[in-house]
């Protein structure tokens, strides 16, 4: 009879309790995995930003437009590698509040230079650059809507009117762009800025914001300063920041809601662990008499110590691994369903490692008190207590 067999027998002596305790741990880690994935999805904009990418927006607020002439002015500033620009189109299909299609009007060539992590088939790229009424669609967006290259898609704008009447533009999908890293946002589509300016009824030559790369991330600050100083006292003063800082500020606009929610859920996670730990400690304490028997039979104290620790570790991992596996499946399933709202829902290795650490901690912390008690147990008191 080896130790493992004993541990197993001890764990399953009360099958119902074993099952219930496992289930509680299972729930805790299921929640942990799912919520961490959600948090990761919300933060992915910060994680995925390039080090040498800057965003220049109107100083009043990023929703204010900038004159088109700024593009060339910024291009000539020392330390700037590539510059591109984008306009928010306010795209949707069907119901304007429910089915938003994130759409930007961009300068095609420079956009793909600046966002170098986006790749598309060379032939498709050529076709798109040539076709002014063509659109390039992100992989996630295409999947969510079942769009293929060659499809003609009507996209309405909740801001602009087409100069031929109505508010709907017909685009032809010339290509689909994707990125190697799965958390890169591809839940949007882009089309030609020139075409946009020519077809919308107001005309004009302004851009929403500029995105640029610096020749080296070390120059970021100097370049940002040069740009903003260049436009001081002009009609449209600018505010340039790194893409990371810009995305972070944008996410923080959602406010402390996220913070409140996540802290509440983590509190809950740790509470479950405390509760489960309590049950586990009690379960082992019931067996004081048996431990005394083992000692009488000549089991070394250290061996019993290890067995008790192993038992709680085993319980913790049995529930925890199942929980995190279920979270993985749930996230995989949900990420398809929610592709439209939360395109970057992924339960990655980092979360799994964290979960494993918590499982180990749970096992050790709940095992250590009864294990030390067992280690120190005087056989006589053990029997009298039992």
């Amino acid at each position: 009879m080896n130790d493992l067999y004993l541990i197993f027998k001890n764990l399953t002596r009360k099958k119902l309790r074993f099952f219930l305790t496992c289930f509680a741990i299972f729930i805790a880690f299921l929640l942990f995995g799912a919520v961490m994935a959600l948090k990761g999805a919300l933060d992915s904009g910060i994680e995925m930003s390039a080090d040498n990418r800057l965003v220049t927006v109107h100083k009043t607020n990023f929703t204010q437009p900038l004159p088109y002439a700024y593009v060339n002015k910024v291009k000539n500033i020392e330390g700037v590698k590539d510059v591109t620009h984008a306009n928010w189109f306010g795209g949707y299909q069907g119901d304007p509040t429910r089915n938003q299609i994130i759409t930007f009007a961009v300068d095609p060539e420079s956009y793909l230079d600046v966002y170098s992590e986006l790749s598309t088939e060379p032939q498709h790229k050529q076709n798109w650059l040539k076709n002014r009424a063509g659109a390039l669609v992100g992989e996630r967006l295409a999947q969510a809507n079942n769009w293929k290259v060659g499809d003609q898609i009507p996209i309405s704008s909740n801001i602009f009117s087409h100069k031929d009447g109505g508010q709907t533009w017909e685009f032809i999908i010339e290509g689909i762009f994707s990125a190697e890293d799965k958390q890169t946002d591809t839940n949007y589509m882009i089309f030609h800025y020139k075409y946009f300016m020519e077809t919308q009824s107001w005309g004009g030559d302004y851009v929403g914001w500029l995105v640029l790369t610096t020749t080296d991330a070390g120059f970021n600050e100097a370049v940002a300063k040069r740009i903003d100083e260049g436009f001081t006292n002009s009609q449209a003063e600018t505010d340039t920041s790194t893409e990371k800082a810009f995305n972070k500020a944008f996410i923080e606009q959602m406010g402390n809601i996220g913070l409140i929610i996540f802290s509440v859920i983590f509190m809950a996670f740790f509470t479950i662990l405390v509760l489960v730990g309590n049950t586990m400690v009690l379960a082992i304490r019931e067996r004081t008499g048996e431990i005394a028997v083992l000692k009488t039979l000549g089991f070394p104290s250290l061996r019993i110590f290890k067995m008790v620790i192993m038992e709680s570790l085993f319980l913790s991992f049995a529930g925890g691994l199942l929980g995190i596996a279920a979270a993985y499946l749930a996230v995989a399933g949900l990420s398809e369903m929610l592709a439209r709202f939360l395109p970057n829902l992924i339960l990655g290795a980092e979360i799994i490692i964290q979960a494993l650490i918590y499982m180990t901690l749970l096992g050790l912390v709940t095992g250590i008190i009864p294990a030390i008690n067992a280690l120190r147990l005087n056989i006589i008191t053990g029997f009298s207590r039992g």
Binding site: L16, T60, Q235
Partner: protein, 395 residues
């Protein structure tokens, strides 16, 4: 029947008095139930607070006009010509033969949030005196009204609370232009307090809006006048506008956090499953712990129904106790908690978490459900326990 009731009371009293013997397991159950309830209420209080902030802003005898299909003020444009056409629209409430009508626009400007010290979107709304009349409950709590035609603004109480740099008499800079804060206003806690107000004409000229606006609000003769206005718009080709009651518009906007309520319910349901697993452990332990008492009572003629009821009531009491503690904790921690988030107009909505009686009841229901399920199966075991076995179990 009377006997069952008196027996049950005896058993319930016994069970409750024996709780100190299994104090840790029982506390664990109370605690688990409290956490589930607190989490559920945290989410619901947030959604409730947000909804109330928006829905209390809209009145149903004010009509709001925006460009067709724009959905929100942010995306809308209304020309001067359209405003003129609306001024002669039928069914509008008039004072001295003039409708109470306000053509408005807003620019989004950056403010620094106190909590994070990061920039966030605030609406700088341009309107005129009629605009303030259309907000019920509007009052200046400090300073004075802005002078038309100048770079003066008044600040909503919510903005003052959540953002830095908008104190009375302070100069504020948005891009190239600087403004002076001359007053602080309140509209009774609703979404308008998350705004800065100033003269519409000044905003048009400083921010290159020409003579265009984004929305028009007008007081109607009665809520029923809406259909008349709709007909008027449909028959006038130059008015490609949508008209809604302001209350309907804000109800729509207020539902934008409703996904949070769903999320909260799902999370707390999953948590409740975990809590039930823990609570079942507690209650089975309780039944095992009391098996000798149960057997004794059965042996002296108590019915098994009393054993069942005794156990299930014990579970309900523990869970309900947890529910009350959880609800109180949620009340202390969350009620009145200030938060702000991006609303439908792409600007910050400052709101407070709000726990209503209705939410308390929902929380308690959740706790009772946990108690009922986790009490039922152990109670069944208690009722079915053969007397002999019970004596053996209890040594």
């Amino acid at each position: 029947m009377g006997q069952i009731i008196s027996q049950s009371f005896a058993v319930i009293a016994m069970n409750l008095r024996s709780i100190p013997r299994r104090i840790w397991m029982s506390l664990a159950m109370v605690f688990a139930s409290a956490v589930v309830v607190a989490i559920l209420l945290a989410f619901l209080a947030m959604v409730k607070g947000f909804e109330t902030t928006l829905s209390s802003a809209g009145s149903n005898d004010v009509a709001i006009f925006m460009r067709g299909g724009s959905g929100a003020e942010l995306n809308s444009t209304v020309t001067r010509e359209q405003v003129n056409l609306l001024e002669v629209a039928p069914a509008l409430f008039k004072i001295d033969d003039k409708p109470v009508l306000s053509a408005e626009l807003y620019v989004i400007v950056d403010g620094i949030k106190k909590t994070t010290q990061t920039e966030a979107n605030i609406p700088l709304r341009g309107l005129d005196i009629d605009g303030t009349k259309l907000r019920s409950g509007f009052q200046l709590i400090e300073g004075r009204m802005f002078e038309p035609g100048t770079n003066e603004l008044i600040v909503g109480a919510g903005i003052l609370r959540e953002f830095d740099g908008f104190d009375l008499n302070q100069e504020v800079r948005f891009g190239k232009y600087s403004w002076k804060v001359v007053g602080v206003f309140s509209t009774g806690g609703n979404v308008f307090e998350s705004e800065l107000w100033s003269d519409a004409k000044v905003i048009q000229s400083l921010y290159n809006r020409g003579s265009s606006f984004q929305s028009v609000r007008a007081k109607m003769d009665s809520p029923a006048s809406l259909t008349e206005l709709q007909t008027y718009i449909e028959n006038e080709p130059r008015l490609n506008l949508d008209v809604k009651a302001e209350s309907a518009y804000f109800a729509e906007q207020g539902s934008s956090l409703s996904y949070m309520a769903i999320f909260g319910r799902v999370i707390s349901m999953i948590m409740a499953l975990g809590a039930i697993a823990g609570a079942l452990n507690t209650m089975y332990t309780s039944v095992a712990d009391r098996s000798r008492e149960i057997a004794t009572l059965r042996a002296i003629g108590f019915s098994n129904i009393s054993a069942f009821i005794g156990t299930i009531i014990e579970a309900l009491v523990l869970a309900a106790l947890g529910g009350v503690i959880g609800a109180l904790a949620a009340y202390l921690l969350f009620d009145g908690l200030h938060a702000s988030t991006l609303g439908g107009s792409f600007t910050q909505v400052v709101f407070s978490f709000r726990l209503s009686t209705e939410l308390f009841i929902q929380g308690l229901n959740m706790a009772l459900m946990i108690g009922l399920i986790s009490g039922f199966f152990p109670a069944w075991r208690a009722a079915k326990m053969p007397v002999m076995v019970a004596f053996q179990n209890g040594h």
